[in-house]
Symmetry: C2
Subunit: 179 residues, 2 copies
């Protein structure tokens, strides 16, 4: 199944590499940045999983209450013939309804973007209903893989959501802060 392969590829090619090292990258960041990421509960990669597969390359465009702040130190590894391939996460500030500013390490899951692109290309023979079904299967499979993974325990938060009909321009920031 398409989603099955994409979930495994996302795990072995990315999450399995970065999640176990996340705490160290955050500690390194804190040493250089006055211990700014204090709350250990937020020392997780928040992974956005919109069922619509509609992904913004620039998170600030999804919700103006989400602002890019800084990057974590990059992880650099030799991978499949690419020397020092770079993997990094970005830290955002998220303005809450209480006007408080929250720091959050957050990004979308890129495979959902692949599902979206496949549904746009006629030669992929992949329609909107396939896409929704595969998006749901992707989230379920990813959740199961991560649950079984000892090395990734406690390092991530899956944020699965469907955008409601009446589009609230601050839906996403509220959704992230719920978690």
């Amino acid at each position: 199944n398409v989603a099955h392969g994409l979930a495994w590829s996302y795990y072995v090619g990315y999450l399995k590499l970065v999640l176990p090292r996340l705490k160290d990258l955050i500690s390194e960041f804190n040493r250089a940045n006055n211990n700014l990421l204090k709350c250990k509960e937020t020392w997780k990669l928040h992974i956005l999983l919109p069922m619509s597969c509609e992904i913004y390359d620039d998170l600030q465009k999804a919700d103006s209450h989400i602002q890019y702040w800084k990057d974590l130190p990059a992880l650099q590894l030799d991978r499949a013939g690419t020397k020092w391939r770079s993997y990094k996460q970005s830290i955002y500030t998220i303005l809450g309804e209480d006007k408080k500013l929250n720091y959050c390490i957050v990004e979308y899951a890129p495979p959902l973007q692949s599902l979206y692109a496949m549904s746009q290309d006629e030669s992929a023979a992949f329609g909107r209903e396939d896409r929704l079904e595969q998006a749901q299967l992707f989230c379920r499979t990813l959740g199961e893989i991560l649950q079984r993974s000892k090395e990734c325990a406690g390092c991530y938060r899956l944020i699965v959501y469907e955008e409601s009909g009446d589009s609230d321009s601050h839906f996403l920031s509220k959704e992230i802060l719920k978690h």
Copy 2:
């Protein structure tokens, strides 16, 4: 199908981004490096597709006649919430049987590494025969997608191979130079 999704994701999430820009990245590299990549026939990304799915993160370990030389300039783009995600290719020197040194932009296709990892994990319910079948389907699907892609025409070389029984430690360099 697993391979179907991986081929599409590899195309929309990587090849479609980098291949159309490859000539510009090589020209930029040549300006800074005394026009070293002279032969325009080699201005292609050589993509290694071993049917065994056995991928070396360090190409020099696959064959000592393949040596890392330098990187092309990286492509940096906002992608799915990651600011300035970095995509780069490495240039290798390959020693031929005639003792001549050849420059080559080469790397493995990462999705084959995902297929390998899936076949190693019991919970993926994916055995060695599935893996071989999916590796072949991956190469076939990838070839068809790239053939139809106008923006990627002439920018890549697919190097599909099976390692022979009597392992020649310089099999890979010879295989690449055949192309």
